[in-house]
């Protein structure tokens, strides 16, 4: 446990540090509400014309969207820990490297803490409102306790996939003068393939099969489809195994790449 002490302390300070930005939380909350409503109204319009054309029921799609908006900070790649990019680009990373700590572990902890604190602030109001909305725009529970435990587990795995994937983007900042381009392109494309804008079951079959096997399919897709009841039984087990597989691959790749990058790192200025 003593080994984890620095990481716990870092988690605590990063978590409380993000919690104090109240205005940002309120702004985020409003955005997520508007975005959620817009999506649901658009989907409802499509469903009105032909409900049979969709792989999920409207109810399932509505639950998908509300849970996604409530936990946006957990699920979306573009919700980066920007202080890491700043540290690399300004050379502030020099101070991070004179600490007796593994830099990969440090960044992983900071990103996770930052994402969780933002999720905690946003999820409760969104969930409350989504539960009291009229049918069919309401978030529906149901499916039993086991389903919800599986959802929670899969959400934790999904957070780990997203964080270990974004670690690769942080590390790429060592190799570029400005990481803005990478951040935006990878963020937007990644979240698209992860089902951040259109759920993966809505994709054409050939594309769907590929995405489901890729790390993007192991992100928000899994927990959200478990929650809305689209996935059951073996499909859940297979999906969660795939999540574990991608965490292992991404963490290993990130650690190797970071070790190589740090050997070549040049801290400029000062």
């Amino acid at each position: 446990m003593i080994y984890l002490k620095p990481y716990k302390a870092l988690f605590r300070i990063r978590f409380t540090n993000s919690l104090q930005y109240r205005a940002a939380a309120v702004a985020g909350l409003v955005t997520q509400f508007v975005w959620g409503f817009m999506y649901i109204l658009a989907f409802a319009a499509f469903y009105n014309s032909n409900p049979a054309a969709f792989p999920m029921t409207l109810q399932q799609t509505v639950s998908y969207v509300w849970m996604q908006q409530a936990f946006i900070a957990v699920f979306f790649i573009w919700m980066y820990e920007n202080s890491i990019f700043e540290a690399v680009e300004s050379g502030q990373v020099a101070y991070e490297m004179v600490r007796p700590m593994d830099l990969y572990g440090r960044w992983f902890t900071m990103t996770t803490a930052n994402r969780l604190s933002r999720a905690v602030l946003r999820c409760i109001p969104i969930l409350i409102v989504a539960f009291i909305l009229p049918e069919p725009y309401r978030l529906v529970l149901g499916g039993g306790a086991i389903k919800h435990v599986l959802f929670l587990l899969s959400m934790i795995l999904s957070l780990c996939v997203v964080v270990s994937f974004s670690m690769l983007i942080y590390i790429s900042a060592f190799h570029t003068v400005n990481s803005m381009g990478t951040r935006i392109v990878v963020g937007v494309a990644g979240d698209f393939f992860a089902g951040g804008y259109i759920p993966i079951p809505f994709f054409p079959d050939f594309l769907r099969t590929v995405i489901e096997l890729s790390p993007f399919g192991a992100m928000q897709n899994m927990p959200l489809l478990i929650f809305n009841g689209y996935l059951t039984g073996n499909a859940i087990a297979r999906g969660m195994l795939l999540q574990v597989f991608w965490i292992a691959v991404l963490v290993l790749a990130g650690r190797l790449w970071m070790r190589r990058s740090l050997k070549k790192v040049i801290v400029q200025g000062g």
Partner: protein, 265 residues
């Protein structure tokens, strides 16, 4: 305690002429120039010594410090600090050293200074008694008790720099690297920082290596100076020796300017 032998470090720097045409050309073929940041740098420092590491801008001072902190890997050469090679055993090495980069901050911007100190305590796994003792002592000497609850963003530069120094000493390092610790400080803060460094060196026997452009720092603090220019060590001797070779009645500032001129750096 610290030995550097024949340390070399080169950087590859992209170069191009000014103007649009040259910029367009650089899109297709880049020209690089190899800059020798350090060539055959060797020196050693004994335990308890206080050494001033001086040289003009771009001479290689910060590069040397970064190598000694384990941040940069040199192209060749040997460096042993507390019996370790910094870049090979970075984590074990940095546990025993303290570093202040005068141009950067290690304090968390939006939280009280105290929170940053406690984070450092947990990162270095300093035990509670040692931490409390160090904190009380450092806070008293540097007169910081009033500002421990203030977020770092609201501190003046002088207050912040004193906090930075405390932050780098909480884990009892036996070597302290100070990279321009007095940059931008007013007279009062400079004097406070100098007195403190002197006391630290005397009472705890901490080895101090500092870089500075402020010659009064050197005069007030160090017996020994190492001069670096264009990546090479040009002079390694006592302040007294330096005085002896300088024109009569010159102050430290003039002596160093004369040196820079003599070595054409």
């Amino acid at each position: 305690m610290i030995t550097l032998q024949n340390i070399n470090k080169t950087f590859r720097v992209a170069k191009r002429g000014a103007g649009f045409a040259r910029a367009a050309k650089a899109l297709f073929s880049r020209e690089y120039e190899t800059v020798h940041a350090l060539s055959d740098v060797s020196f050693s420092v004994q335990g308890g010594e206080m050494v001033g590491y001086i040289g003009p801008n771009g001479a290689g001072k910060s590069t040397t410090i970064k190598i000694m902190c384990g941040i940069l890997t040199p192209d060749s050469g040997v460096c042993q600090i507390n019996g370790r090679t910094p870049w090979k055993e970075r984590v074990a090495h940095v546990r025993e050293i303290g570093v202040v980069f005068g141009q950067r901050s290690q304090l968390w911007w939006d939280v009280p200074v105290m929170d940053s100190f406690e984070l450092i305590r947990d990162i270095y796994k300093v035990n509670a008694n040692t931490y409390q003792r160090n904190l009380d002592e450092l806070v008293e000497i540097l007169d910081l008790s009033e500002i421990l609850k203030t977020p770092a963003r609201s501190l003046s530069l002088g207050q912040r720099m004193r906090c930075e120094i405390v932050a780098s000493l909480l884990h009892d390092p036996n070597i302290l690297f100070l990279d321009e610790p007095t940059i931008g400080l007013d007279a009062v803060s400079k004097i406070a920082v100098r007195q403190f460094i002197k006391r630290l060196n005397k009472e705890r026997g901490t080895t101090v290596l500092l870089t500075t452009h402020d010659m009064q720092d050197i005069e007030a603090l160090t017996e020994r100076i190492v001069l670096i220019g264009k990546g090479q060590i040009l002079l390694d001797g006592s302040l007294a020796e330096l005085k002896a070779r300088s024109p009569e009645g010159a102050n430290a500032e003039e002596m160093v300017a004369a040196l820079y001129k003599e070595y054409e750096i």
